[in-house]
Symmetry: C2
Subunit: 322 residues, 2 copies
Amino acid sequence: METSNSAPVPQDAAALVALDWGSTSLRAFLMDAAGGVIADRTSDDGASRLAGGPAEFEKALRRLVGDWLQAQPRVPLLACGMVGSQHGWREAPYAGCPVAVDALDRHSIVADGTDGLQVRIIPGVCFTADHHVADVMRGEETQIAGLLCTHPALAARCRVVLPGTHSKWVEVRDGCIVSFRTCMTGELFSLLREHSVLGRLMPPATDFHAEAFDEALQRARDDAGLGLSWDLFSVRARALMRQLETAALPDYLSGLLVGHEVAGALRAVPRDEPLALVGDPVLCDRYVRALRVLGHPATVIARNTAPQGLWRLGCRARQVAS
Amino acid sequence: METSNSAPVPQDAAALVALDWGSTSLRAFLMDAAGGVIADRTSDDGASRLAGGPAEFEKALRRLVGDWLQAQPRVPLLACGMVGSQHGWREAPYAGCPVAVDALDRHSIVADGTDGLQVRIIPGVCFTADHHVADVMRGEETQIAGLLCTHPALAARCRVVLPGTHSKWVEVRDGCIVSFRTCMTGELFSLLREHSVLGRLMPPATDFHAEAFDEALQRARDDAGLGLSWDLFSVRARALMRQLETAALPDYLSGLLVGHEVAGALRAVPRDEPLALVGDPVLCDRYVRALRVLGHPATVIARNTAPQGLWRLGCRARQVAS
C-alpha cells in the first residue's frame, strides 16, 4: 500500500524530508522552511518488515520518495522511530531520562546510504527505575517534541498520552521527559480479537457501539482493583447468555482494555496535571470517553505530531536549509 | 494422541464410566463400585474439535472406550464439561448459584446415542450478579464435588482455585457453590507467547526459571493497583536491555500473569478462609509459589478430582450398579 497527496514538488521549496518510520509503516513528509507540509506519502515498509539489513531500508526509502531526493539531492533527511532500533537501518542508542526534548538531536546518529545519501536518526528514550531499565520508546519522543512546539504551555508540566499498539503515558516537566510507562492495550486487543476464545464470538467488523464501550469503561473503573485479566471473561459470559449482541462485543472488549489502562494510569497522575492526547483521531475519541468516565478529561487533543517534532529537531541541528 | 493405562478389564468389575470431557480433550475413567479407578484413557477429541454434531461425539466415545462398552453394555456413563455446552453433544442448561454441589445431578440431562447408548451429562454452573450472568463454568463444578468428597472438611467454607486456561476461583459455603469468577491467565499466556511482540523474544521451550518467576510475582504484587496490562511491556524492556536472559522470559511473563491473577483475587478472600488448589501438579506448583509470595498459602493441593466428582454424583443418581 502506498498513499500520496503530493502535487508536483515546487523546485527548491523543500527544506526537510521528515521520516516517521515505525514498525509497520513509513510515513514521509516533505516540509518547507516554515515547518509546513508540502507533500506526504505512506508505505507499508515499516522496520519490522525490512529484515534484510541497511540496504533494504535505503531501497524502501528511494521507492517511496526517490523523486523528491532526485529533485533536491541536498535536502536533509531526519527520521524517528523503529528505524533506529537494533533491527533498524542503524541503531541509535537510547537517551536516558530525564532528557530535554529539545536536546534529542544531540544524541542523533547518521545512517549512510549509497551516492552520499545520509539519514539522521533521532534516538529513542529509556526510563530507568530501581537500577533497571523499566521502559523504552522510539518515535513517541519526537511526537512529544512536535506537541510542545504547537502547544508550548504544556512544556512546564503535563502528561502526554499516546494511545496505540503500545500506549505510552509520558511525564513531562520543564521541557524534559522525566518518566514514562507503556501499556500493551492495542496489542492485547488485536491478540484477543484474532486468536482468543473471545474473538471467536465476534463478527469481523462492526460500527462503533458506544453503549457497550461505555458500559465496559464503568466495569473497568469499578473492577480496577481486581484487574484486567479478571474482567476479560465477562465478554464470553455476556455473549453466551445473549446479554450483549455479538456486534457490540468488540467495543465491549475495547472498553475493558482502555478502561483498565486509564484507571491504572490515573492513579499516578495528580488531579490538576494537564493531560494531552496525541494520535489517531478515532482512537483518541475512545480515550476522550475513557478519561471523562474516569474523571480526568484531556486538555489538548492532537493528531500525529511527528512531522512537527522532526522539523523542530531538524532546525536545531541546523540541518534545514533556510 | 491417545494414552491408556488399561489392563484387560475384569469382567463385571466396572460400576461407572466417568467422562471428563473438556474443550480440548476427552478423559475416560473406568471406575469400580468403591470409586476406585480401574483404567483410564485420554484422547484429543475435545468438544471444540467435534464440530459435526451429536454423531461425532458418539463416534469419539466409541473410538476411545468401545471395548469397555462392549464388555459391559449396561454400565452407566456420566460426563461433565464442555460436552454439555451449546456446541457439545447435548446442551445441559446451567444451574444457577447458589447450588448444592451434591445436588448437581438433579439438573443433569441425558444424551442418547445409537443401540441404546445413553450418556448422562452434569450441567455447568452460572453466577449472576447485579441481574447479569457474570460468569460460567463447565466441568469445574464436578471437580469441586470430587474435592469435597476427598476433603469433606472444606465443604463448610473454602475458596477452590482451579488454575488453567481459564482459571476459576470458587467460593464454597455449606456444600454450595455460592459465587465464582474466571481469570483468563492461561489463555493470555498462550496468546502472548505465540502471537505477541513479547513471544518473539522467547526461545521455544525452556526449563523452569524460578528466580525470574518469583521476581515477576513480586513486581505483580507491587504493581497490583496499576494493573496487568501495564506490567507486560516490562518483559520487552528487560529483554531489549539484556537484563534477563531470553530463556527466563517465559517464566517472567508467567509470573506476571499468575501474580496479577492471585493479587487481584485475594482482595476478595478473607485472610482466614482455607484455600484449595485443584489441577495439574506442575501448574499448581506455580500457584503455590504465588500464594506464598502474596501471603495466603494453600491448605490443600489436589490433582484432577473430576473422576471422584463424577463417581459421587453418579452414586446419588443411583446410576452406579453396586
